[in-house]
């Protein structure tokens, strides 16, 4: 049960990353590889500041803005200098690797004995208390942490949903959907795109900083495979929700992230080799991406067959 609660918590932390990927990939159809660097960047900033004695909340906030900055660079490379989208992401991701090492000063910062936003909420729980959930005993502190992360992610999702329904937000969605149309209606699509990539990476860095504080360390390698992770969450969410409404898609991305984390936890529990995790994730995303197209083709073939029989 404790593993289950832990998985849901990590799923909800990574849901922020999924929301970031949702913004770039679903709204702007922009596969942003900066993600791999900005997850670590967020973790690095938060960890470095926390061990210097800054308040964890402030460190987390600065991590968010650090991510925004990384996204800003990618956005400018792509929208202003017209670099290929994938290449812009790769360049910033690669540069961030060095930046992250500089920020951290070494390749791994342990945070287990430091105060973090997570440990802050742990304090509210009675030490050693356990709560009985359906017959399982769960440490109270785990539930408090889960509650905090749940609230935080829900709040972020709600704000994001509200934003995408404002005049500005609707115009940004239009910029991803049909740039020519919204330019003709007076929107600066380049500025919109840069803003959205920055916001996306801010959320991703936020996710990274919370993950570091939850797991108790920041590591320079922790970003590897995170793009695919985010994509998997968004795709699962889309399949679950099956609509184009932004609100539901945002909810779906959060659910997708939690569900995917649970699936991984179960698979690991069943004895899957952890080394295979990223391979299996990649294969999963591949299948999820091609499946809808294949299904439609299959369905069309079926319909066609019926049509021919009807003529006989």
């Amino acid at each position: 049960m404790s593993i289950l609660i832990g998985s849901i918590t990590v799923g909800l932390i990574l849901a922020l990353l999924a929301l970031g990927v949702f913004i770039t990939f679903k709204i702007f159809h922009f596969p942003d590889l900066t993600t791999e660097g900005s997850v670590t960047f967020g973790a690095a900033i938060a960890a470095a500041l926390i061990i210097k004695g800054y308040s964890p909340a402030l460190a987390t906030l600065i991590a968010f803005f650090g991510g925004c900055l990384a996204g800003l660079v990618t956005g400018i490379l792509h929208a202003v200098f017209k670099l290929n989208g994938l290449l812009s992401g790769i360049l910033v991701m690669t540069a961030l690797y060095s930046v992250n090492l500089h920020v951290m000063g070494k390749s791994n910062i342990p945070l287990l004995s430091e105060p973090t936003v997570i440990s802050h909420f742990e304090r509210y729980a009675a030490a050693g208390e356990e709560v009985n959930i359906l017959g399982w005993l769960v440490p109270q502190k785990d539930l408090f942490i889960l509650g905090f992360i749940l609230l935080f992610t829900a709040l972020t999702g709600t704000l994001l949903n509200a934003f995408f329904k404002t005049n500005l937000g609707v115009a940004m969605r239009a910029a991803g959907n049909n740039a020519q149309m919204i330019r003709a209606l007076g929107a600066n699509t380049k500025a919109y795109m840069i803003f959205c990539i920055a916001l996306s990476n801010g959320l991703i860095a936020l996710s990274g900083s919370l993950l570091a504080q939850f797991q108790g360390f920041a590591d320079v390698q922790m970003g590897i495979g995170m793009v695919v992770w985010g994509l998997a969450s968004v795709i699962i969410g889309e399949a679950l929700i099956n609509t184009k409404s932004v609100g539901f898609l945002i909810f779906g991305a959060v659910m997708g992230s939690v569900l995917f984390r649970l699936l991984v936890a179960i698979a690991l529990q069943w004895g899957m080799n952890p080394n295979d995790l990223k391979l299996i994730t990649a294969v999963f995303v591949f299948i999820a991406l091609i499946l809808p197209g294949l299904l439609t083709r299959l369905e069309n073939r079926k319909k066609l067959k019926k049509l021919e029989y009807a003529e006989d």
Binding site: T166, N167, A171, N177, N178, Q180, I182, L185, A187
Partner: protein, 270 residues
């Protein structure tokens, strides 16, 4: 008043694909003019419209609209003054977004877009009536994504959206060329209604001479990136499709003569 003065535009200069699309276009469009722009393929008519809209920077010349210099203004800023409908029915609307959301976007054309709600109940209520007037049974489907609609419906909505806030200039770029004849006639009828209601200054590029004869008060005929004929009010009134065809033939004849004269000169002097 739209003033286009000595506008030149060359695409891909210096390459094998060099196209000298505009070679000194000068024309003044008066407020309330409804101008049909005719011309053969590659005559520069769409390029002229796009130059006014700001789709690309021009090489030389000046474009002013009511004393506002548009020449260096980026496309999205010109949108404050200009409403546009494109040839492709899919270009003017955001397919994954609802009809209401699309209209909400158009209702703020050229204005600041802030953090107020795009689709308040009050705003939505204002959308129904104009959509009903399109007579396309769309007023009950405001929450459906626009991508599910037919080309004609989308083009009618684009037209409505382009004129939602009264533009100082309306640019129609062969906006019925991709529609079937019946739908095209419907959209043209709608165009006429909307333009006449607000006496909008309009530039309409078209391939159809019939449309050019029936609509508007002025015809511009472009050829080789220049204005070949400018038929104003009095001339335009009496003109028929056959007259326009004759003008086209005349342009073609002139072209051929130029070619042969050039060859003759070459033979004699070189």
């Amino acid at each position: 008043m739209l003033k286009i003065e000595g506008v030149y535009k060359t695409f891909n200069p210096g390459s094998a694909n060099e196209v000298r699309a505009l070679r000194g276009v000068s024309v003044t469009i008066n407020p309330g003019d409804f101008v049909c722009v005719l011309g053969t393929n590659g005559s520069g008519k769409s390029t002229m419209l796009n130059a006014v809209a700001g789709a690309f920077p021009i090489d030389r010349g000046q474009i002013t609209l009511h004393n506002t210099d548009l020449t260096k203004m980026p496309e999205h800023k010109r949108a404050r003054y200009i409403g546009r409908v494109f040839q492709n029915p899919f270009s003017g609307t955001a397919p994954d977004m609802s009809i209401a959301e699309n209209i909400a976007l158009a209702a703020r054309r050229g204005m600041k877009r802030g953090l107020s709600s795009a689709l308040s109940v009050k705003k939505r209520a204002q959308f129904t009536e104009p959509v009903r007037q399109l007579n396309m049974d769309l007023e009950g489907r405001l929450d459906n994504p626009i991508g599910k609609l037919s080309g004609g419906q989308r083009q009618a909505l684009t037209l409505l959206m382009a004129t939602w806030i009264k533009p100082q200039l309306l640019l129609l770029d062969e906006h019925t060329a991709a529609l079937d004849p019946k739908t095209a006639a419907r959209v043209i009828e709608l165009t006429k209604q909307i333009v006449e209601k607000d006496r909008l200054t309009t530039l309409m590029v078209t391939h159809s001479m019939q449309q050019a004869v029936n609509l508007g008060n002025r015809i511009l005929m472009l050829h080789n990136g220049k204005i070949a004929y400018d038929l104003k009010e009095s001339d335009k009134k009496h003109i028929r499709v056959n007259d326009l065809l004759a003008l086209f033939d005349e342009i073609r004849r002139k072209d051929q003569m130029d070619e042969s004269v050039a060859q003759m000169i070459k033979k004699q002097y070189i």
